[in-house]
């Protein structure tokens, strides 16, 4: 329990657009323990990716982290200079993205892209062209080892391939091997399997599990796909409209979901064993984050709405050991 690697506390990330302030992440708190896979699940636009980008420090204009803390190994990342954060990126905290098709630079070989990262963090050489040849060869060998680790077929050849010569699954493997080459403590995986075929999805998830075991890394896995969550995560946070509404062990969450939104999400998964008349869904749609609903942001869509839900934002409370819910139904009072 005390082995917390990363602690996010009351994070607020807003985007200042012409239409108004988009409160994409509005008071999110959770922690990631050493060696676990923490899942962050929610609908598109609920702030999962913004949370991830806030952690790695890649929030772009017009976005800004307004308040909160991101404590990594005892240091608040938000108090570091841009230069200090840059040194953490790719070395301590890495990130992989949804689209393996576009996440690798099309004009450089896989090997060059991995070697570049190794040279940067292990030798302090930012420009690959300035590196001595022997050093590059040495790093290339290391890159091949990494490709082997993610079970890349024919790594000696793949290392000199360009991204367009590889399939989606192979590119995602290359991406994972690159981002793990520096042995980071935390890997953020933003929808790593969404763009892939189901069979390839399973391979990639297995590789992530494997990496967790072999390298002892923690993974923040972001997805909208509950089956992915069920398959690989240890604990889960459910996000809705910029807030975390429930955090629990994966088993506990699927077994005994408490927040009405989580219940709705789980019911919306079609089942083969029981034929339902109609697929269940959550009525209404995701709220506008410029003018979010008052109080609990889920109240317009909630079947258990009470008067207090419109007025007061529920706090995340621990209702069972390790199971947190932000809902007035479980207010404790």
């Amino acid at each position: 329990m005390s082995d917390v690697l990363l602690k996010v506390e009351d994070l607020h990330t807003y985007f200042y657009t012409y239409e108004g302030v988009v409160k994409a992440v509005d008071g999110v708190s959770f922690d990631i323990r050493k060696g676990e896979i923490f899942g962050l699940v929610g609908e598109t636009g609920c702030g999962k990716s913004v949370t991830a980008l806030s952690i790695i420090g890649l929030i772009d204009e017009p976005g800004r982290i307004v308040s909160g803390k991101i404590i990594y190994k005892g240091k608040n990342l938000l108090e570091l200079s841009e230069e200090e954060r840059r040194k953490i990126r790719g070395k301590e905290i890495s990130m992989i993205f949804q689209e393996p098709m576009t996440a690798l630079n099309p004009v450089y070989t896989i090997g060059d892209q991995i070697v570049e990262l190794l040279l940067l963090h292990e030798e302090g050489i930012a420009n690959i062209k300035r590196a001595p040849k022997e050093l590059k060869e040495e790093k290339k060998k290391k890159a091949i080892e990494m490709l082997k680790l993610v079970r890349m077929p024919d790594p000696e050849r793949t290392i000199d391939s360009y991204p367009h010569e590889l399939s989606g699954g192979m590119r995602q493997r290359a991406m994972i091997s690159m981002m793990l080459a520096t042995k980071p403590s935390l890997l953020i995986a933003d929808e790593p399997t969404t763009a892939l075929d189901v069979t390839v999805q399973a391979q990639i998830l297995n590789i992530l599990l494997d990496m967790k075991e072999k390298l002892g890394i923690s993974i923040l896995l972001i997805t909208h796909d509950l089956s992915v969550i069920a398959e690989v995560t240890d604990r889960v946070g459910v996000m809705y409209a910029g807030n975390i509404v429930e955090i629990a062990d994966t088993y506990a969450l699927f077994d005994n979901p408490r927040h009405p939104y989580t219940v709705g999400l789980l019911q919306a998964i079609p089942s083969v064993t029981e034929k339902k008349e109609e697929l269940k869904y959550i009525r209404g749609s995701v709220p506008n984050l410029i003018y979010p609903p008052s109080g609990c942001r889920f109240h317009p869509r909630c079947d258990y709405m009470m008067p207090i839900c419109k007025k007061e934002k529920p706090k995340l409370v621990e209702i069972e050991p390790g199971h947190y819910v932000a809902c007035h139904l479980f207010g404790g009072e």
Partner: protein, 323 residues
């Protein structure tokens, strides 16, 4: 692709030259020439033969190096071009040498500092470049830097180098170690080169800016930043190389545009180049000269685009030559 384009160009220039409702034989012979003389000229230059026969003569001449006789200059077209082309080429190269690096740099700065002061300044600069006519800019520069300030000369190519190897004065000056002429030639080329480059520079800036903005949004830029690379490397190594691909196309086209723009610039700065020659040829109905200039420009245009294609393959591994 090269050869059909060149043949097509000869066909078009040839046809256009002959459908113009003017009588070249009369123009060359002069207003008061007796009809027999005009008829003699017609006979001599095969002007009475059917068009395709004339075309045959034209093409076989081109291949043999006989590009016709320039009546405005009283010597063969090829000789004139040999004299004038290096001047134009030199001017164009210098204009490109200004336009491409400066344009790309401004475009990058503009994209990176999007909607901030450097972006606004470079956009105003670029907009004025595309909207300002070349002759006006040329006159303005002459007025400021020659008439008022007296910093630069306003006409000519400067001192002729002591030895001529290529016809490119600056290169020849260096080759013949003639530093006096080198200084003079550089001094002379600055104003016309700046004038000629400005429009292209503006286009390059705008093109680079928009393709950089496009590229900077892409996932692999996020990846590059997630790797912890410094901004400079992200921008110049990861973004610019991809953004250059569309910019390069424009640069290839711009080269041809510069050759065309040279007509005005050369006239303003009395630069003894092909543009000025073409201008005289047109005003005196010197058809062989017009056709020669057009043909040469077409060949250069094709070569410029060939170079662009080769550069594509270098910049983008997805493009393989010969596929």
């Amino acid at each position: 692709m090269l050869i059909p384009v060149v043949i097509g160009v000869t066909l078009i220039t040839f046809t256009i030259a002959y459908v113009i409702p003017a009588d070249p034989a009369r123009a060359w012979a002069g207003q008061k020439a007796p009809p027999e003389v005009v008829e003699q000229i017609r006979e001599k230059y095969h002007l009475n033969d059917p068009l395709y026969v004339q075309y045959y003569y034209y093409i076989s001449g081109l291949v043999r190096g006989d590009w016709g006789y320039s009546h405005s200059e009283h010597r063969p077209v090829l000789d004139c071009l040999m004299d004038y082309f290096p001047a134009t080429f030199e001017l164009t190269i210098w204009a490109m040498a200004i336009a491409i690096p400066v344009g790309i740099y401004l475009g990058v700065v503009s994209a990176v500092k999007r909607n901030k002061i450097p972006d606004h300044l470079s956009r105003i600069f670029a907009l004025s470049g595309v909207s300002m006519p070349i002759f006006w800019l040329g006159l303005l520069l002459i007025l400021i830097f020659y008439t008022y300030l007296g910093w630069f000369p306003a006409s000519g190519r400067g001192i002729t180098p002591s030895h001529t190897y290529t016809g490119l004065y600056i290169l020849d000056s260096i080759l013949s170690l003639d530093f006096q002429s080198l200084a003079s030639d550089i001094w002379h080329i600055i104003l016309p080169a700046v004038t000629l480059s400005y429009a292209t520079l503006a286009v390059m800036t705008r093109m680079t800016r928009s393709s950089m903005l496009e590229v900077l949004r892409l996932d692999y830029i996020k990846t590059a930043r997630a790797k912890g690379l410094p901004d400079k490397i992200v921008i110049y190594r990861h973004a610019l190389r991809n953004a250059l691909i569309p910019t390069l196309t424009v640069a290839g086209l711009a080269f041809a545009g510069l050759l065309g723009g040279a007509v005005l610039t050369e006239t303003i700065f009395s630069w003894p180049g092909m543009g000025r020659y073409a201008y005289h040829a047109i005003s005196t109905l010197d058809f062989p000269a017009i056709m020669g200039v057009t043909f040469l420009m077409a060949v250069i245009f094709v070569i410029a685009n060939l170079i662009v294609d080769i550069m594509y393959a270098y910049l983008d591994p997805r493009i393989k030559l010969g596929e």
